[in-house]
């Protein structure tokens, strides 16, 4: 911070010093500084544009959701019915669906991602690190709709034939695995979400681990720690806030993900703890019903969007506050949520 501030100061200094020099040599003359000011404000206006635009659009969204807000008020959030015939709309089943699938994504995706990050940062031979990191980042480049297509035809049969029966046998006594394996359910959606958050969580965690000073690893190694013990003792503990932030970032991604979930979750507007039952998330509800909805239902869908907006905003602001400096590691290759 200090360095940046002083850099700024130095530049301004150079600017004023230059103005004097220019009188003798430069043909541009004193107008230059006015031009520079204009340039600065023009660029600033552009930067301001997006900021203002998005907040303006949020207001417009609130306006669009007005009918629904007026009709259902606070009860919208806890309403568990979504019935276009009776014109009754509530957000609860979808908030529930979003939170449950996102939790699954975190539960499955985070350990995998941290494992990937540990391998890339601590164990991988140097020549393998770059290509492997690239492959993991490419995972973020695949468009979400292609994940959905693949899940429908390649992942679903595996879920129905192998994974879901296995979990049903082992954990069938818990409320999480009641019902018959159908493959288009919260379980499949959770798995596909887990796969999709790996590049984000792994890249940011890797960045956090690689930022751990070598001296910390040396401290552990010199005590006679093995590679694994060094990672646990010196690297993971030191980088824990970065890794935590990476998980929150992954959570944000899981919460907002639309297409792959829409295509795998089975689209049923019900609240059920069983992962083998179909469900609906906030985003999948919007994507599924957009074409047909009008009037109050459209308004209610937009209100769902506002709820999603608020949740995503909280999660992302939280993540940004924690990871700040590792944020640049998020693969921008990201393909279509």
């Amino acid at each position: 911070m200090v360095a940046e501030a002083s850099e700024h100061g130095r530049l301004d200094h150079a600017g004023t010093g230059m103005a004097k020099a220019r009188k003798h040599s430069s043909p541009i003359g004193p107008l230059a500084s006015t031009g520079d000011m204009l340039f600065k404000y023009a660029v600033m206006a552009v930067a301001l544009f997006t900021l203002v635009l998005v907040w303006f659009l949020v207001l417009m969204m609130l306006f669009e959701a007005g009918d629904s807000i007026a009709e259902f008020g606070g009860g919208f959030l806890i309403g568990d019915v979504w019935d276009p015939n009776r014109e009754v709309y509530g957000a609860l089943p979808f908030v529930f669906g979003t939170l449950l699938t996102s939790a699954m994504a975190i539960l499955i995706g985070v350990p995998l991602s941290v494992g990937v990050a540990i391998y890339l940062s601590e164990l991988s031979p140097p020549w393998l690190r770059e290509p492997l990191s690239f492959l993991v980042e490419l995972l973020a480049a695949v468009p979400s709709v292609i994940y959905g297509l693949w899940a429908m035809y390649a992942l679903r049969p595996v879920m129905v034939d192998t994974i879901e029966p296995f979990f049903k046998t082992v954990l069938g006594w818990t409320p999480f695995f009641e019902g018959e394996p159908i493959g288009l359910d919260k379980f499949t959606a959770g798995i596909i979400l887990a796969i999709m958050i790996i590049p984000t969580v792994a890249s940011v965690s890797k960045e956090a681990m690689m930022a751990v000073p070598l001296s910390q690893r040396e401290a552990a190694l010199s005590l006679g720690a093995t590679r694994y013990e060094t990672t646990r003792m010196a690297v993971l503990t030191y980088a824990r806030s970065g890794i935590f932030g990476a998980c929150i970032l992954g959570l944000g991604r899981a919460i907002g993900e639309t297409m792959a979930v829409t295509m795998t979750i089975g689209n049923a507007n019900l609240i059920s703890w069983s992962l083998l039952d179909p469900g609906q998330t906030m985003s999948s509800l919007i994507a599924n019903n957009w074409g047909e909805a009008d009037g109050l239902q459209l308004s209610a869908l937009i209100e769902i969007g506002i709820v999603l907006f608020v949740i995503a905003l909280v999660v992302n602001v939280f993540a940004r506050l924690i990871v700040g400096r590792f944020m640049k590691a998020v693969p921008t290759t990201g393909g279509g949520l």
Binding site: P126, P213, L214, S215, Q216, R217, E218, A219, A220, L221, S222, L223, G224, A225, T226, E229, M233, A234, T237, Y238, R240
Partner: protein, 252 residues
């Protein structure tokens, strides 16, 4: 006096750069050996070869033999992890684990070995902190974070941490370069007390320090071992002209 560590034809590389060249050195047991020389002469690299820490750096490799009690630590049957439990190390900048308390820092090495007996851990922590002359200063704040201590205290904490594993050899890589004179004096006193029990090798760029505390001194220049002898001999009557030039400050 027996030799604790013997290097034979030791070469150490960073990529293509040879940082240590054909060093044959005998480190005597239960004494302090200082390694001096201008910066970049390979003295740190040399001692990092003695507990296989050199290979931790990417692209680094070692040729030749390093015998610990007559057994080559680079032989195929020797494990680097085991070597490091016998040969402890303290680094230039204090590096306590910031997420651990003072107490946990000290017993970190023991815990690795699966020690769970709290009485034993407590006893070791106290003994190590006392050996490192830190006990009186931190006994009231064992739960505080390791990085809440002053720089000098942190470095002694790192020494205590290294001692807790009960190594036979203690390697110190310019342990005082980041410390003020008072903290430096404390560490020097401490090393002086430790030499009856441990074999100590200390790298220093401070010739006075070497003269003050060491029994033997090795002088290195451009990766080569120029001269090794009793400290008194090196400082008062060196064999080589290069050594004398360096000692008397008429260098380069």
């Amino acid at each position: 006096m027996a030799d604790k560590i013997v290097t034979e034809g030791l070469n150490a590389y960073f990529g293509d750069v040879r940082a240590v060249k054909n060093v044959d050195l005998r480190i005597p047991e239960r004494a302090i050996t200082a390694v001096i020389g201008p910066s970049g002469c390979g003295k740190s690299t040399l001692i990092r070869c003695m507990n296989r820490m050199h290979e931790v750096v990417r692209g680094a490799r070692v040729e030749g033999r390093v015998l610990l009690d007559g057994k080559d630590i680079y032989s195929a049957t020797t494990d680097a992890v085991e070597v490091r439990t016998r040969v402890g190390m303290v680094f230039q900048k204090p590096n306590p684990f910031p997420t651990m308390s003072v107490y946990d820092n000290v017993v970190a090495g023991l815990r690795l070995n699966g020690e769970r007996d709290w009485n034993k851990l407590d006893a070791t922590a106290e003994r190590s902190l006392k050996l490192a002359a830190l006990w009186d200063e931190v006994k009231g704040q064992l739960d505080a974070s390791g990085v809440s201590l002053s720089g000098g205290q942190q470095q002694r904490l790192c020494i205590a941490r290294a001692l807790a594993v009960e190594p036979e050899v203690l390697l110190l890589d310019e342990p005082c370069s980041a410390l003020d004179p008072i903290a430096t004096a404390k560490i020097e006193d401490l090393l002086f007390d430790l030499k009856d029990r441990y074999t100590i090798v200390i790298v220093t760029h401070n010739m006075q320090q070497a003269a003050r505390i060491s029994n033997f001194t090795a002088f290195m220049y451009l990766g080569e071992l120029i001269e090794f002898d009793a400290t008194k001999k090196i400082f008062e009557n060196p064999e080589r002209e290069l050594t004398e030039k360096y000692i008397t400050g008429r260098f380069g």
